[in-house]
């Protein structure tokens, strides 16, 4: 820790200029594109300057800005606070008391990899999310800083007497950076598995995402992109309309192709050379091609585990494991979740066994939802959409045929879904199962619960049913339409379990 000398304001390493420059490049490129588009069709000239010159000027400006940003970025330590200063015009001073630090992560994007530096990102327990990142530090320095911050955090916590009891030693141990890299990773993704993961991503989601992004861009520059083609489009419109029956399958195929391609690229970038380490201290995930990210969650921060699959992945026996971590900024959100695609059942068992050895013991009480769930789904996802589709029959008979097809298929899926929902509760664990197309499992230790909620709508009241919602610091889960007595008993039981519990949820 001695060579860190954080009493003096420190700058990042000089190559940080390049990292900051590339960070700013996106903004610069956007400005440049709009410059081109504004001038679209006309002779390109600005006060006698050509396009190339304008490009150079923008690049130069941003280089200067980046350099100034680098010059004006400091970090140092005063008493028990870590301080960052930044900002060109307005000075931002971000103060982080050590005991507010949640986690310290190291990241590396492609430029940082090339330049041999790492970004240190500090997550705090504050409710407002700020950019707390030092973008370029030499690797060894970054690791040292990470260790330093985490150690300081523990020290301050102990001084404040938050961890006075015997457990403090353990927690101190677990809170240290889990350097598990010497161990053998539990899950790795060799190229073959990586390809499989890419192939079995949720293509529909990727496709829609790409579609949304492209759509956004197209509308942004609609005037410039579409206007020149307008006469042509109008002329062709009638022909298009007539042949939409042929075009539709082609569009669907193109959509599918692009979706699959994008999912492949995305998972390559995200999960390349993935290594997932697990031991009693916590989990660590290292992955990524261009941007190599390192996440770790100490055992006590893990709130619960959730694993999902989809029809394609189910076929090859892969699941995605999500390790849910307490994140005050957005409970229920996606922040702070470590996702491991391509987990096999054996590996999942190891994870479960490591963190929740008690999961396999004890007697479980089983719960099933009432038929009202199926009835509601039938109305919302079966009958109402069918009526809407039939209504579209006004545009062409093919839609009415669609409704005829849609209804039985949706009823089948709803039935399958209904029979897939169940819950098991022991005196230690709560296990939820739902989903047929996208089977999802949740394993939640009862002592990680924050509080419980019971709801009953008038429809439920008629049938003497109620729903129970489980709140944790990492997200919300729930179970709908239990018989009222069972729901109340579960509610009382869970509250009792939380209240007699000595183990802290964090």
């Amino acid at each position: 820790m001695n060579n860190l000398n954080l009493n003096e304001p420190q700058r990042q390493s000089l190559v940080g200029v390049a990292v900051i420059f590339f960070k700013n490049l996106r903004v610069a490129a956007n400005i440049f594109i709009s410059v081109i588009l504004v001038q679209f069709g006309t002779e390109i000239s600005f006060w006698g300057l050509g396009l190339k010159e304008v490009g150079f000027i923008i690049a130069g400006l941003f280089l200067i800005i980046s350099y100034l940003q680098y010059r004006r970025f400091y970090f140092y330590v005063v008493d028990d606070k870590f301080i960052m200063e930044k900002g060109l015009l307005s000075r931002d001073r971000i103060t982080i008391p050590f005991d507010r630090i949640q986690t310290v992560n190291l990241n590396q994007n492609i430029i940082q990899q090339v330049l041999g530096v790492m970004a240190v990102k500090v997550d705090t327990a504050g409710s407002s999310e700020k950019e707390l990142e030092i973008s370029a530090l030499p690797k060894s320095y970054a690791r040292e800083l990470q260790n330093f911050l985490i150690e300081k955090k523990e020290e301050t916590k102990q001084e404040k007497g938050e961890l006075e009891t015997e457990t403090s030693e353990d927690e101190r141990e677990t809170n240290k950076t889990l350097d598990l890299s010497t161990k053998r990773p539990l899950v790795t993704l060799p190229i073959k598995d990586l390809l499989l993961v890419g192939l079995t991503e949720n293509h529909l989601r990727t496709g829609l995402l790409v579609f949304a992004v492209i759509n956004g861009y197209v509308w942004q520059f609609e005037e410039y992109l579409l206007k020149p083609f307008e006469p042509f489009l109008e002329e062709q419109a009638n022909t298009f309309m007539a042949s939409w029956l042929i075009l539709l399958p082609i569009a669907v195929l193109a959509f599918l192709f692009i979706s699959v391609l994008m999912s492949m690229i995305q998972s390559m970038l995200k999960y390349f050379n993935l290594e997932f380490f697990v031991d009693a201290k916590g989990v660590q995930l290292v992955s990524g091609l261009l941007k190599r990210a390192e996440y770790q969650i100490p055992n006590n921060k893990i709130q619960y585990l959730k694993w999902k699959s989809n029809p394609l992945r189910k076929l090859i026996g892969l699941r995605t494991l999500a390790v849910k971590q307490a994140s005050p900024e957005d409970a229920g959100g996606t922040k702070g979740v470590v996702r491991v695609p391509g987990c096999r059942d054996e590996q999942l068992e190891v994870v479960l066994d490591t963190f929740y050895p008690q999961a396999l013991e004890g007697t479980y009480t089983h719960y099933l939802p009432n038929k009202l769930l199926r009835l509601q789904h039938t109305i919302y996802f079966g009958i109402i959409p069918s009526i809407l589709i039939t209504g579209l029959g006004w545009f062409g008979w093919i839609f009415s045929l669609g409704a005829l097809l849609y209804l039985p298929i949706s009823l089948f899926f709803i039935k399958k879904y209904f029979y897939s929902v169940s819950m098991m509760v022991s005196s230690e664990m709560l296990i939820l199962k739902k989903g047929w197309v996208f089977p999802t499992r949740v394993a939640m230790p009862l002592y990680k619960l924050q509080n419980v909620k019971l709801t009953q709508s008038i429809f439920q009241k008629q049938r003497n049913l109620a729903s129970v919602t489980f709140y944790t610091a990492a997200g919300v889960e729930g179970f709908k339409h239990l018989p009222f007595e069972e729901a109340v008993e579960l509610y009382d039981f869970l509250l009792y379990k939380i209240e007699v519990e000595d183990r802290g949820w964090m």
């Binding site: 409970a331 924050q450 509080n451 919300v476 009382d492 509250l495 009792y496 939380i498 209240e499 949820w505």
Partner: protein, 173 residues
């Protein structure tokens, strides 16, 4: 695992009958002023909306009664629901948790154990100041959906409740 010792103890099954039962608890009802405050708030809202409607009325030839009747009916319905639903609202403090229930059409009940409370505060809106009513908000780490808010307490009662909850939850830190 050295945890197994404690586990065995906890693995003793708890007889459901012996669980402290939420249903058996008497919930404290809220100040009746709170009902009047809510009715006032609704009244103001409907009054404002009626103002907008009246302005719109000048632009159409629809008869005035066609315009106001559904509005008045909705207004009456909301009032009836509020008055009936008010009896359902209530809070309860037990040895180890605080609960709130509410909702005629969508009933819901939340309980927050004292050992999970992050912090607790009092808030009072402009109408609340008028009626001398305040609400106590209890925050947990479970996100905004899990927070508990007990409205319709006199300022003094709210302060006492807040102090009480803060004291009890501090014992767990």
């Amino acid at each position: 695992m050295d945890l197994s010792k404690t586990m065995l103890l906890e693995n003793l099954d708890i007889n459901p009958e012996e669980l402290p039962q939420m249903e058996a608890v008497d919930f404290e009802s809220l100040e009746s002023d709170y009902l009047y405050m809510r009715l006032t708030a609704w009244g103001l809202f409907f009054l404002m909306a009626a103002g907008v409607l009246t302005v719109l009325l000048f632009t159409t030839d629809v008869a005035a009664w066609m315009y106001y009747t559904p509005w008045a009916a909705l207004f009456a319905l909301v009032f009836i629901f509020e008055i009936i639903g008010f009896k359902i609202k209530g809070y309860a403090i037990r040895q180890k948790d605080v609960s709130y229930k509410s909702g005629l059409i969508w009933f819901h009940m939340t309980s927050v154990p004292f050992n999970r409370i992050q912090h607790c505060e009092i808030s009072q809106g402009p109408l609340g100041r008028l009626f001398n009513l305040a609400s106590v908000k209890v925050y947990t780490a479970g996100g905004s959906g899990s927070d508990l808010s007990i409205s319709g307490l006199t300022k003094e009662r709210a302060q006492r409740l807040r102090d009480f909850i803060t004291k009890l939850s501090a014992e767990y830190e």
